[in-house]
């Protein structure tokens, strides 16, 4: 508990230091006079925004899109990755299509998606999903490969079926990789949810950001940026918390427990 407090304290100090650097850079430093507003005015704008219900509504929509897409990406990506990792046939059959999809960015397919789904929250969810499921599948497959062969052989020697082995041995072994994948994907999901609003007309903070940009309202723009940063932190914290609970047995988190 004490170390946890210490950790948060040091983290807060880091944030404060970063804000100071920002303030100095934007007022007297190399970014003075650039489109970067000062930290204080951005914070003021953010505080001002938090008093409006529109901002909370937009935030809720964006978070819902990001989380929705992320959850679907996990639900699709993890089984896909596990399939690829456990079955050579699945791996070879999906390799070309997946490798092909990997480098195609959401912004390129955005108009096509807008075409099919319209400028709706559903479109945002789809883009988030599209932008993160392959990465999750890739890491999950690597995690499956990381299963200790002895653990796998143990399951086989006890006559555990394929499905049971996957569920009880392989998936827990792959969890640390999946955790990493989710932590890598979470902020990306948030960004894609915003970009979906920004470029594709979907609802949420993307729209707010777009308006601030069209209107040249930098303070508001960075007010939203701060909100997004905080959301990123919260999502990160949540996924780390979940991981710590699920992976308390793993050396990565064991030290924190003992």
């Amino acid at each position: 508990m004490r170390t946890r407090l210490l950790q948060y304290g040091i983290g807060a100090a880091g944030v404060v230091a970063a804000l100071c650097v920002w303030q100095i850079a934007a007022t007297v430093g190399p970014l003075a006079g650039s489109p970067l507003p000062s930290a204080t005015s951005a914070i003021a704008a953010m505080l001002q925004l938090t008093t409006t219900s529109a901002m909370w509504q937009a935030t809720a929509v964006t978070v819902a899109m990001a989380l929705g897409g992320l959850v679907i990406a996990i639900l699709v990506g993890v089984p896909l990755g596990v399939g690829i990792g456990t079955s050579p046939l699945a791996m070879h059959a999906t390799r070309v299509p997946l490798e092909f999809l990997k480098p195609i960015p959401p912004i390129v397919i955005l108009p096509i998606v807008v075409l099919v789904l319209g400028p709706t929250a559903g479109m945002g969810v789809f883009l988030v999903f599209f932008g993160s499921f392959v990465a999750i599948a890739v890491q999950a497959a690597a995690g499956v490969f990381d299963t200790d062969p002895v653990a796998r052989a143990t399951a086989r020697s006890y006559g555990m079926g394929r499905g049971e082995t996957v569920w009880r041995i392989v998936v827990p072994s792959a969890l640390p990789y999946i955790g990493t994948a989710v932590r890598v994907a979470a902020p990306t999901a948030l960004i894609i949810a915003v970009v979906a609003g920004l470029l594709g007309g979907g609802p949420g903070l993307g729209q707010s950001l777009l308006l601030a940009q069209i209107g040249g309202n930098r303070d508001d723009l960075f007010g939203y940026v701060l909100i997004l940063g905080i959301l990123g932190l919260v999502i990160q914290g949540l996924s780390q918390w979940g991981e710590r609970r699920l992976l308390s047995w793993h050396p990565q988190y064991r030290k924190a427990v003992v």
Binding site: A153, T154, R156, S157, Y158, G159, M160, W249, H250, R254
Partner: protein, 263 residues
């Protein structure tokens, strides 16, 4: 009680001309040349031999975890081509065979799930197995919170709770103290009698081999062959009395000599 003179009992495991070669980048390494032996129902067979001769490899072939290069291994007359469901293996690398994300109790429960036992029986088996290896009280610990010997005993408890018809163990008592080892040896004999289990044990402790076995299979040469099979028929084994028998000392010396020569 199964008759100790098990010659009349049917053959459970049958190995004929088993050979195994590992293919590595640097060419193939023949490990086992040609093994032939069998183990009857209700027998305890010990496999002994120098380190690195191929005992673990043999067990992996026997439990269907690895394919053979030639020959055949059979259980009840069926060729083994995958882990047969009536068998269980206690791995030499016991630490790695425990799931680090499961507590001791859940590790033991793991293979029982698919047996679809009535709940009461499952819980009974788990607690009885843990008690038998002296781990009552450690149920809620994780493997990495246990000492080496305790981990090894969890692996044994898991196998015992599974109640396989054929129990195969690879140096199962290597990390436990002398007293615990005696107790576990007797436990082996007890479950053999109680459930009519067939037990195959790899061990480096010659005394243990002699004490436990109805049959000792000595491996030697590289690639490995059976250099000798010894049938042992002590009745009513007892740690103090049996070990004090003159035949015990004789067998012991004979096997030691065989292993020395195999070096």
């Amino acid at each position: 009680m199964i008759a100790q003179t098990a010659t009349e009992a049917p053959v459970r495991l049958n190995v004929q001309g088993l050979a195994k070669t590992y293919d590595t980048k640097k060419g193939s390494v023949p490990v086992i040349a040609d093994l032939t032996f069998d183990v009857r129902v209700g027998e305890v067979a010990c496999i002994v031999g120098p380190s690195g001769i191929g005992k673990t490899t043999l067990l992996k072939c026997l439990t269907g975890l690895q394919g053979l290069s030639s020959g055949v291994a059979m259980i009840d007359g069926r060729p083994i081509d995958g882990p047969p469901k009536e068998m269980a293996l206690v791995f030499q690398e016991y630490t790695r065979s425990l799931m680090p994300w499961l507590t001791v109790e859940k590790n033991v429960r793991l293979p029982l799930k698919h047996l679809h036992l009535p709940k009461g029986e499952r819980e009974d088996r788990i607690s009885a197995a843990l008690a038998a290896v002296g781990l009552t009280g450690a149920e809620a610990k994780y493997p990495w919170q246990l000492s080496g010997g305790m981990q090894q005993r969890v692996a044994i408890a898991r196998a015992i709770a599974y109640r396989p018809e054929v129990l195969v163990m690879d140096e199962p008592f290597a990390s436990v103290d002398a007293q615990t080892r005696f107790e576990l040896e007797d436990l082996c004999l007890k479950i053999r009698d109680e459930f009519g289990m067939t037990i195959v044990v790899v061990t480096h402790d010659i005394d243990e081999a002699v004490y436990l076995s109805d049959r000792v299979i000595v491996l030697g040469e590289r690639p490995a062959r059976v250099t000798r099979t010894l049938d042992i028929d002590f009745t009513d084994r007892d740690q103090l009395r049996t070990r004090a028998l003159p035949e015990f000392a004789e067998l012991r010396t004979e096997i030691l000599e065989l292993i020395r020569r195999a070096h």
